[in-house]
Symmetry: C2
Subunit: 217 residues, 2 copies
């Protein structure tokens, strides 16, 4: 499958490399087509890897990943262009973390709204699926790093788009995929970030993930 990844940071490049390893073609996109980090990534990942602008990546991909920083995601998607995004499945991995008031970051949107919903409202023809925003990117692409059962949450308004996202999650190794319903559930998954950040500080590593444990009955 042709996958476009918006954002060339560690999340985008880690996801991109894994998607290439599992047989996909990936174009990374950033603000500028002259991005030295993306250039290195292409050289390291071979013939199925390419890069360009946000618009190039969006036009290329049948499925898109939003791996930009949450506070600039809407701007990045505007640069990608509504025409290039139209009808596409967009897996939104970003969290609206605001570092401008110091550490720990707060959320720039939460409680009665979410980044996932903001993106869906701004681009109504895009089929937004919020997923993979509740764990470190090494865990995203290698869930077996974590012992025992643990979960990835998905939500979105379009069942077919969620189905496509679930298929990709399975190919990354995810077994327990919890469908929380429509895109408003992104509030809940984005609001996991404050405790996730606290746990990172407590354990001094990011090798953990959430699990919903159930009744014996």
């Amino acid at each position: 499958m042709k996958v476009g990844i918006l954002g060339t940071g560690v999340v985008g490049s880690t996801l991109g490399s894994k998607l290439i390893q599992t047989g996909h073609e990936v174009k990374m996109g950033s603000r500028s087509a002259n991005n030295s980090r993306a250039g290195e990534w292409v050289r390291a990942n071979g013939v199925r890897a390419s890069f360009g602008t946000f618009a190039d990546a969006a036009a290329f991909g049948e499925v898109l990943f939003n791996c930009t920083a949450g506070t600039v995601s809407l701007a990045a998607l505007r640069l990608a262009g509504a025409a290039n995004l139209k009808g596409k499945v967009l897996i939104d991995v970003a969290n609206p973390l605001d570092f401008s008031k110091g550490m720990p970051p707060t959320l720039s949107v939460c409680n009665s709204d979410s980044l996932g919903e903001q993106i869906q409202r701004a681009f109504p023809s895009v089929r937004v699926v919020k997923a993979l925003n509740t764990m470190n990117c090494r865990v995203m692409v290698e869930p077996s790093l974590i012992s025992g059962e643990h979960d990835v949450f998905v939500c979105g308004n379009d069942p077919q788009a969620k189905g496509a996202a679930v298929e990709i999650l399975r190919s990354l190794g995810w077994r327990s995929i919890v469908d929380l319903g429509d895109i408003t559930a992104a509030r809940g998954t984005e609001m996991l970030l404050p405790i996730w950040l606290r746990l990172w500080s407590l354990y001094q590593n990011q090798n953990f993930n959430f699990r919903i444990a159930h009744s014996r009955l």
Copy 2:
């Protein structure tokens, strides 16, 4: 131990009954000493059970539980009276859920503040420990209802008070108790409520809890 419970709803009465079963004396407190629900609870729970006003319960307890609705907790604590609360360990079980804008509720405080912190600021001499606010009250008092490992989170500024809370949690059957640090971590645990509410809706039951799963290494 003498325990005062503020709030005579299902959370307070469930916790109170279990604390009596484990050998404690419990006084429930509400706005009025003529509370028919609390009267029934006393009749059902025997000689170690009593009830009175918020002030009566606060004066009685060596350890206190805040089981009032989060949006009225500060008012209830003011009725309990700073003199009765002074120096006490207060285990804050409440969540600031605001139902006034319809379902699902939002949080009346979150992100850069929390109910736990508001209580600690309003009553600086009280030793607030946030705990047990991330699961249904049946799970609170009988963690073995849930299969496998699962967690209860505690946070607070006073290590001794957290020690007292941990001792009570162990007596309720909790084995995995995660100390998140100071009371600002209450933001993280209160912000678990939106996904908890969504999971309740998904599973159509409240017999689940959060687990932090860890690396194999």
